[in-house]
């Protein structure tokens, strides 16, 4: 590790007291012409209000549809007075859960496809889940759906429908531990189970992580009992993380449009996975894939040649919601109504019910951690009771520990009871993973009185191997730079927050104002994609580039755009490699037949970086070949720069890209194509999943004050350091870092869906009652992007959006312990919980 004085630090964005952004590179790191530099964003038209989001779209004769949501935590719809609803003004169609349309089986392909979309991971050869008769949580679409002439008629009809339904209330259970008791009510009758226990193997999700034995809800690595025997000390503790509102809670209420006419289906969909891909194929049991054109075609009964998809902009979209079957209900319902009415139909979800449909995972974790006096962690045991979400996929809480430490001995046990709460998934990293990793490290550091950054460095590694020297050798063998990502991000962060002067013993610093001062640290590997691709060698994606006679170019492919500036980053990579000008390149994201890699959220750019690099290189090659013929030169004698092809030995001998295209139209009319596996490093391919180590590390440092009288936590300073491999677009990277920090703080301090234990009903399901941070919560954030080239994307890039949200939450927990000298064992750390930890409540 070289000293920071050898760094090259760029600060490309306008700063203010709350925003400092730096790119840290070594002088010997490659310099690019477009990549890593500030560029004007390509999607700036969004801010004029003229770009269309789903609810802005109007089609001739369009109907508006919606559904009744359950007011009960658990209930059956015994009957519906559909005629009474149908007779209301403006109502055009009424669908009930008993309707044959929901139970008619489609083509064999349709059945298989719909089965993959089951929202609750149950295979059923029908699409009844779109509108069931049994509600297993409050807010679930249930019983009856309505299509009406306008929104007012729709809302009036849905409101009236509440009293037109004959409900049977059923016993419910919302507490995870209670759900496992022998006398607990069965939470979800339709499954046909007699208990609430989930068998992970039957649910078929654990194989998602390739190194986990199939069906394991209990998993061991090494010899944990021996690890505990070798330990000089053992800490045991329990942490509870409560559910928050991330999945459905995008800012734009969920909606979809379908128009089935004359045997053609036109869709306007909102999903990060717009078309079926082979991304997860090859796995024993793939996870749900979200809506695909293939499923829509099957449900509509039309061939794929007659399906056209539009993907309007999304008003935010986060992770797990797009993997879950609930994300497809609006679209499937729109197709059904359009089939029945012959009209275009927009299905609207209401925010208050939909926002709570997919929450972030909640869980209770019991830990036992053994450690040596020098900080070496000898064994970790995690017993958890968690929501059946991504945590269920990834051995609750242990994935990140396995992926990013040298700890050799694990025991992980997970139970995932069904309850009468909505399903859950991960958003922005799946905080549970990062939280669990950092609980282990924070508690051991506190027990030893050790600087937690030193503890992290001591145990850094991957899959039981230490980073030095074992993994360094593998890095070199696989062609990665032999850099120490964790050390680099830790040193950058410590310097920025002045850690060496501020870190102190827990509870040891009281400020003149009576508050406690605390400082915390958390770390994590970036959420990686390489193992998935490694087990899916046949996955292929495609993208095209079309050149115009004015020298401009359009990248074409099918891709949902969720707000991470991909039109800009794609254009940057293609411009870098092709010699075209960045400002001359646009991205058409609705080209139906060239599918870019989903999803559009996590690792959004990483997925497609190699494809874009290849596209840029092929474009340059094509330009040189055609220009060579025109100029009577070999391609090697020519170069492309700023949209002009020229002879290297005689730059005056040149032709513009536009002139070349106009003159040799036949060479360019078919486009230039790149096809291949997505991401997969672009340059380096790990030989097997077990050797696809996660090299990149991320760190957060948070400084707080805690008021011992009120329990209020005030965030004073945040430093977030992300090894992004290589910065492609500074504005986008900084945006992900800052956005993530706000999300992490709000998760740690206030975001929580409160359930009434007496009714199982949400008490704060609207924005008026649910805490979402505003600009008044702005915190001074120093964001640093470190560039090691250790990622699996082209140029060694790795994702940035996942970790800040998860890390900041974990670092905040550590900072509060450092302040008050007590652990707050329930998250979020609301003032009452802080006071309880202090023994004052």
């Amino acid at each position: 590790m070289e000293g920071a004085e050898h760094r090259r630090i760029k600060r490309p964005l306008r700063e203010n007291p709350y925003l400092v952004f730096e790119q840290w590179q070594f002088p010997e790191d490659p310099e690019f012409k477009v990549i890593g530099r500030y560029v004007e964003p390509k999607d700036g038209r969004k801010i004029t209000g003229r770009e269309l989001y789903m609810r802005d779209i109007k089609l001739p004769g369009m109907l508006y549809a919606g559904w009744l949501t359950s007011p009960y935590a658990h209930a059956l719809v015994r009957s519906v007075d559909a005629d009474a609803i149908r007779s209301m003004p403006g109502v055009r169609d009424v669908l009930t859960c008993k309707d044959p349309d929901l139970h008619v089986e489609g083509s064999p392909e349709g059945l298989a496809a719909a089965g993959e979309l089951e929202p609750l991971n149950v295979k059923r050869p029908e699409i009844a889940f779109v509108l069931p008769c049994e509600a297993v949580f409050e807010g679930q679409p249930v019983g009856v759906a309505v299509a009406a002439d306008n929104m007012r008629s729709l809302y009036d009809a849905i409101w009236a429908a509440r009293s037109k339904v004959n409900w049977e209330e059923l016993p419910f259970v919302v507490d995870r531990d209670e759900a496992l008791r022998p006398d607990a009510p069965v939470a979800q009758l339709f499954r046909g189970q007699e208990t609430n226990a989930v068998d992970p193997k039957s649910a078929g999700l654990l194989p998602f992580v390739p190194w986990v034995p199939s069906g394991a809800s209990r998993w061991e690595m090494g010899n944990p009992d021996e690890g505990f025997r070798q330990a000089d000390g053992i800490v045991e503790f329990e942490v509870k993380a409560n559910v928050n509102m991330w999945g459905g809670g995008g800012v734009e209420p969920w909606a979809a449009i379908a128009w089935l006419h004359d045997g053609h289906l036109e869709l306007w969909i909102r999903n990060q996975v717009p078309r079926k891909t082979g991304l997860f194929e090859g796995l024993e049991s793939p996870p749900p894939k979200g809506l695909t054109m293939e499923v829509a075609a099957a449900v509509a009964g039309v061939p794929l040649s007659r399906v056209k998809v539009h993907i309007p902009y999304f008003g935010t979209s986060y992770g797990g919601m797009n993997w879950n079957g609930y994300s497809v209900i609006p679209t499937l319902l729109a197709i059904l109504f359009s089939r029945r009415t012959g009209r275009p139909v927009m299905v609207l979800a209401d925010w208050s019910s939909w926002s709570g449909i997919i929450g972030e995972e909640e869980g209770r974790y019991r830990f036992k951690v053994g450690f040596k006096r020098d900080g070496t962690i000898t064994a970790v045991e995690v017993r958890s009771n968690v929501t059946w979400g991504i945590a269920g996929l990834t051995m609750p809480g242990s994935w990140k520990i396995v992926e990013s430490t040298s700890i050799k001995n694990f025991r992980v046990e997970g139970v995932y009871p069904y309850t009468n709460k909505p399903p859950a998934a991960c958003y922005k990293h799946g905080t549970t993973e990062c939280l669990v990793l950092n609980e282990v490290f924070s508690r051991v550091a506190a027990a030893l009185g050790m600087d937690p950054t030193e503890l992290a460095l001591r145990n850094d590694g991957s899959m039981g191997l230490p980073m030095h020297p074992d993994l360094d050798e593998i890095k070199a063998a696989q062609g990665f730079p032999v850099r120490d990502s964790l050390r680099e991000v830790v040193e950058a962060g410590k310097r920025a927050i002045d850690w060496d002067h501020k870190w102190h013993r827990p509870g040891a610093m009281r400020l003149p104002n009576g508050n406690y001062h605390g400082i915390g640290f958390a770390w994590c590997p970036e959420w990686q994609v390489a193992p998935w691709h490694s087990v899916s060698p046949d996955t292929a994606f495609q993208v095209g580039l079309f050149l115009n006679e004015d020298g401009t170019a359009v990248i074409r492919g099918l891709r949902a755009l969720v707000g991470n500036h991909e039109p800009s980053t794609y254009a940057q990579i293609v411009a870098e490699e092709s010699g075209l000008r960045y400002e001359d390149i646009e991205f058409d994201h609705e080209f139906q037949d060239a599918v870019l890699s989903p999803p559009s959220g996590s690792n959004g750019l990483v997925w497609n970086s190699a494809l874009m690099k290849e596209l840029g290189m092929r474009t340059r090659q094509k330009l040189l070949e055609v220009a060579g013929k025109h100029m009577g030169k070999e391609p090697g004698e020519l170069d492309v720069k700023d949209g002009v092809i020229y002879e290297k030995a005689n730059p005056g001998n040149s032709i513009s890209v536009g002139s070349l295209v106009a003159k040799y139209r036949e060479h360019f009319a078919g486009g230039i194509w790149a096809t291949g596996r997505s991401a997969l490093k672009g340059t380096l391919i790990p030989p097997s999943p077990m050797e696809a180590h996660s090299w990149g590390r991320q760190a957060a440092f948070v400084e707080v004050e805690v008021d011992p009288e009120t329990g209020r936590i005030e965030v004073k300073n945040v430093v977030i350091v992300n090894d992004v491999g290589r910065v492609v677009n500074p504005g986008s990277v900084a945006g992900q870092q800052y956005g993530g920090v706000y999300m992490g703080i709000s998760r740690a301090l206030g975001e929580e869906i409160i359930y009434d234990p007496n009714t199982g009903v949400k008490l704060n399901d609207t924005l008026a009652w649910y805490y979402v941070p505003t600009i008044a919560d702005v915190y001074p954030v120093h964001a640093i992007a470190v560039e090691t080239g250790l990622g699996y994307g082209a140029y060694g890039i790795m994702g940035v959006g996942e970790d800040p949200a998860a890390l900041t939450r974990a670092a905040l927990r550590s900072a509060v312990h450092n302040a008050i000298g007590r652990w707050v064992n329930e998250d979020p750390m609301t003032p009452d919980r802080v006071l309880r930890a202090l023994g004052r409540a």
Partner: protein, 163 residues
């Protein structure tokens, strides 16, 4: 009949025909005039700020404002700012002060109101002025930079130079 001036153009709407007594200003502007910048997040609770417009220069939640109460008033939306080339739009774009972009028009209108009444706001002033808007992507820090940059640009236009 109600008469509105929207982005400098005059419109008349018949009450009971074009606009009902209970029609929110937001619906009128979206449905009748096609002004799609007025977004919907909180569904009429008045807590997200996504539908903010200026009514006689005051930032107003159009979801909670009856259209008939706006008779004779001047209304400004971000579409109007786009037509006039207001520096706020360029500043939001240049500073990457948006991600998904859904809340951005509302933020820009709140910022416009702030800069109209306080051409040289401190960052604390900006925080106070924009605290009625929600951005789930968390672009707040960049919004601060963008608003301050727009203030500088407006000052330069007036001949006062930038900070």
């Amino acid at each position: 009949m109600i008469r509105l001036t929207v982005n400098g153009k005059r419109y008349e709407f018949k009450v009971g025909v074009d606009v009902m007594p209970f029609t929110a200003l937001r619906e009128l502007l979206r449905d009748r005039l096609g002004l799609t910048s007025l977004k919907e997040m909180c569904e009429g609770e008045g807590v997200c700020g996504s539908c903010t417009v200026l009514v006689d220069g005051r930032p107003t939640l159009s979801c909670l404002t009856l259209a008939v109460d706006c008779d004779g008033k001047e209304i400004e939306t971000v579409e109007g700012l786009a037509e006039s080339g207001h520096p706020l739009l360029e500043a939001f774009s240049r500073n990457y002060a948006y991600q998904c972009g859904y809340c951005t028009p509302g933020f820009i209108m709140s910022a416009k109101a702030l800069l109209d009444r306080n051409p040289d706001p401190s960052y604390e002033d900006i925080v106070r002025g924009l605290s009625g808007n929600i951005c789930r992507c968390g672009t707040y820090a960049a919004i601060l930079s963008a608003t301050r940059e727009a203030a500088d640009a407006l000052k330069a236009r007036r001949g006062g130079g930038g900070l």
